[in-house]
């Protein structure tokens, strides 16, 4: 039995789909952010898999993943700052209650 590219793509797809499901159904903002992290993580894993199996002599996918991790960290920090600010203004983090972004 060989571990080829398909074996690695399937868990990545399932992780992405779980992220989409959480993104649509969750109503706490932090939980939505967690689902977003799942989606991003699956994209990173895909970069790595395609890099390793299809172009093993290059390292473009790896560099893309490195930058993507850095950008995801920045994005999460800003999103959490915004969430904490919203919580301070409104008192909860339910996405159905946030109907205007005016402070």
């Amino acid at each position: 039995m060989d571990l080829s590219i398909l074996w690695y793509l399937v868990p990545s797809v399932l992780m992405f789909v779980c992220g989409v499901f959480g993104f649509v159904t969750r109503k706490n903002m932090v939980a939505v952010l967690i689902s977003l992290e799942l989606i991003l993580n699956s994209a990173d894993l895909n970069f790595i898999i395609f890099n390793r199996f299809l172009f093993p002599h290059q390292m473009e996918g790896m560099m893309f993943t490195l930058f993507s991790i850095a950008i995801a960290a920045a994005e999460t920090a800003i999103a959490i700052a915004i969430i904490i600010n919203i919580y301070r203004q409104i008192g909860n983090t339910d996405i159905r209650e946030i109907t205007k972004m005016r402070f």
Binding site: S4, L6, M15, V17, G22, T25, A31, L38, I80
Partner: protein
């Protein structure tokens, strides 16, 4: 032919990863959701290690599992009243989410299994191309020639600075 250890490791990590990502979006308590996300990130790091990207696995553990998870736990603890669950989901949203995710699963799996495979190498064959050394990574990241990434590197540092300032401005007390 793959070694038995690699196959066993693959199955353990894949099953734990899929199960934990499912639990992360289904569990009622938000702090547990963050913990399951941590397990997913660590499993991804194990995949990176298994695919031969040791540096990237270390970055994944240090930045994601170390840094971002702390941010998440802080955010969760700061934005809820104690003993509060992330309570039930509205029904039409759950229907929409199920429709979206089932459709996406079917389409993506169809796309994957129908895709013309460029090469059908196994893991041992592609890993035979040699390790990526730290010297190579550093030269790729800080070089200015073709396939080298000095400019994105600097752009990311500016982005992080902007992110620090933005975070302070957004979250400070008025």
């Amino acid at each position: 032919m793959e070694s038995v250890g690699n196959i066993v490791l693959y199955f353990i990590v894949a099953i734990v990863m899929v199960a934990c990502s499912f639990m992360a979006v289904r569990t009622r308590k938000i702090l547990r959701s963050a913990t399951y996300l941590l397990f997913v990130l660590i499993c991804t790091a194990v995949f990176y290690f298994q695919l031969g990207y040791q540096f990237l696995g270390a970055v994944q553990i240090a930045v994601y599992a170390g840094g971002i998870m702390v941010l998440f736990v802080f955010a969760i603890l700061l934005t809820r009243r104690p003993d509060e669950n992330s309570n039930d989901l509205t029904s039409h949203r759950r229907v929409w989410g199920t429709i979206c995710s089932v459709t996406a699963t079917v389409l993506l799996l169809l796309a994957i299994f129908k895709m013309p495979v460029i090469n059908d190498l196994s893991l041992t064959q592609v890993l035979g191309n040699g390790e990526i050394t730290m010297k190579q990574i550093g030269e790729t990241m800080l070089g200015t020639e073709r396939y080298q990434y000095m400019l994105p590197f600097e752009a990311v540092s500016v982005l992080l600075l902007a992110c620090i300032i933005g975070g302070v401005v957004v979250a400070r007390k008025r």
